[in-house]
Symmetry: C2
Subunit: 331 residues, 2 copies
């Protein structure tokens, strides 16, 4: 019989129907291997084909917009939000409107076109995470910016349009709904129980063991007990902390290690699928330091949302998280 | 410059970036035409290949599970929720669990395999709507059922796995999150302004005119001012009413007319795209009769959700609703 589950964070119900899972071969296969002959604006030597870089990790002190970088961040040529202008808020009848002020940057994850994030060197992967934090800090220092979201689309069916490995960073003029819901849910839980819901989640993962995929000194990776999608995986810092932007270098490096390790497992077990991941952190200076707990959510694109999910917000998941975790843990 | 908009119902922000819309030819083309040679379990004469019918519109008084029907409803062979058993609610550490009790039915929209919903006769289309209501009433009379959701997936990329035209009906043991958010948002609006937010929406649509696609005596169809997706279309009854299950035959027939008309326009303008539509109604006996207003939301599948939407709940839409409406209205 299908099982319904609800998470204690935002009250989301899901339906897990294990009878729909026949085996890994049921999931779609995609060719997500970068082509060798690509002429790519993100490759070294073509720095003039992107807007001027705003930040980079350049161990050899090379000048901006020249080769030599490990990681390079440039404004998106086609930004969804742009930094020029003032925020204007208006009513329009019963609706609210705001000018689309913010920023939209592309973080190029390494010089080598053929290397996906799972193949980066340790040094390159650490540079990615360090650059995440430095862009986060820089963008959130703009008083018009209320939230900075960092995410990655890998593979065409996860929305990637350029195959050279990259993440995206979007600075928003308001705290987005998904984050507000988590902040409020975590605060409600804290008010009621006096504990952080994510810390409780970690305790339960250790107790149950079966959903844990990987860990290191600072982080635990597990398949969510209430997944929206098959093989949905969370990476959560073991020590309580609401704000990603304040973590130290040693913890950044631990994050680089576990994120790459989990993505390697997903690649191996699910045949290099498309996926999305994104960072959820408390907005800097927003409060909620006791109740919220930053983390990364990884969603392999194995199934699609259909009418039922739109109508209800309920997801139907074919794979029990303990089964998904076993595949990934043992890979 | 991109524009941000927020709806007054659930506080959802979207980003509309008209510069991303180059023309209708940018949207993907799909072959959503039913094949002629299909051997299909939903076709007349193969009634023994589905579970026994639970309801049908049979003008010729033919016996159940034999040909002659205009519309036929059967339990889904692979239900996501099933009606056998009691609802058991348990805690599991910090999580909640519930047995997956409910119902999952398939409403076969007509006997002709090659006719999509846009090609049904007036009589057939009216039978579909009348059957929606009769299934809704029947299923919601079960005290274990807290909500009945009616939706349609058309085309492979909207999740349809059988091409013979059909809708789905799922009875749930709780009111789903999406509906709860709308109920609460509408109630908050009502408390503050003493008016129904949907009635205000209709008034604004008449004032602005530019987003209206179609109307008849009972319904207005328009492209939402705050769409999540390009060409997102709402059909809203002009007279206030919270509960779909109580509408009379004349209004059912008007709904059949406008729903089919709008789907025909979408088919024509967007080259027979995949789409989802679903009904949102106040749960019977739930209250909120003054503040909520039932309606249908139609989402053509022209773009896909990617990492940014997952991270934030914000949607990036390439098409202004007034432009989408003009295409549809003039088709």
């Amino acid at each position: 019989m299908p099982e319904m589950r609800r998470d204690p964070l935002i009250g989301r119900w899901v339906i897990i129907d294990g009878s729909r899972f026949k085996g890994l071969e049921d999931f779609p296969r995609e060719e997500n291997t970068p082509s060798r002959q690509a002429i790519c604006p993100f490759c070294p030597g073509r720095e003039d084909q992107t807007p001027n870089e705003v930040d980079a990790v350049r161990p050899f002190k090379t000048p901006p917009d020249t080769p030599g970088w490990l990681v390079r961040t440039v404004p998106n040529k086609f930004p969804v939000l742009s930094p020029e202008g003032a925020i204007q808020k208006d009513g329009y009848g019963i609706y609210d409107q705001m000018t689309g002020i913010g920023a939209h940057e592309i973080l190029i994850e390494g010089p080598d076109h053929e290397k996906t994030v799972t193949e980066l060197s340790k040094e390159e992967m650490q540079a990615v995470i360090s650059q995440y934090q430095s862009r986060y800090r820089q963008l959130s220092s703009d008083s018009r910016v209320k939230y900075v979201t960092i995410f990655k689309n890998f593979g065409a069916s996860a929305g990637a349009t350029v195959e050279h490995g990259h993440s995206q960073i979007i600075a928003l003029p308001m705290v987005p709904k998904t984050v507000l819901e988590e902040l409020k849910g975590a605060e409600d839980y804290y008010q009621y129980r006096g504990r952080c819901v994510f810390c409780d989640m970690i305790a339960q993962e250790y107790q149950d063991k079966e959903r844990i995929i990987d860990e290191n000194n600072s982080f635990l990776a597990f398949c969510s007990f209430v997944p929206r999608y098959a093989f949905e995986t969370w990476i959560v810092p073991k020590a309580h902390g609401a704000d990603f932007s304040t973590i130290e270098k040693v913890m950044q490096d631990q994050l680089a290690q576990i994120l790459q390790s989990v993505l390697q497992k997903i690649r191996k077990v699910l045949s290099n699928p498309s996926y999305n991941y994104y960072l959820h952190t408390a907005p800097t200076g927003y409060g909620h330091g006791e109740s919220y707990h930053w983390h990364i959510e990884i969603i392999p694109k194995l199934t699609r949302s259909v009418g039922f999910e739109w109508a209800t917000g309920l997801h139907i998941v074919p794979t029990f998280p303990q089964d998904a975790a076993r595949y990934l843990r043992e890979s």
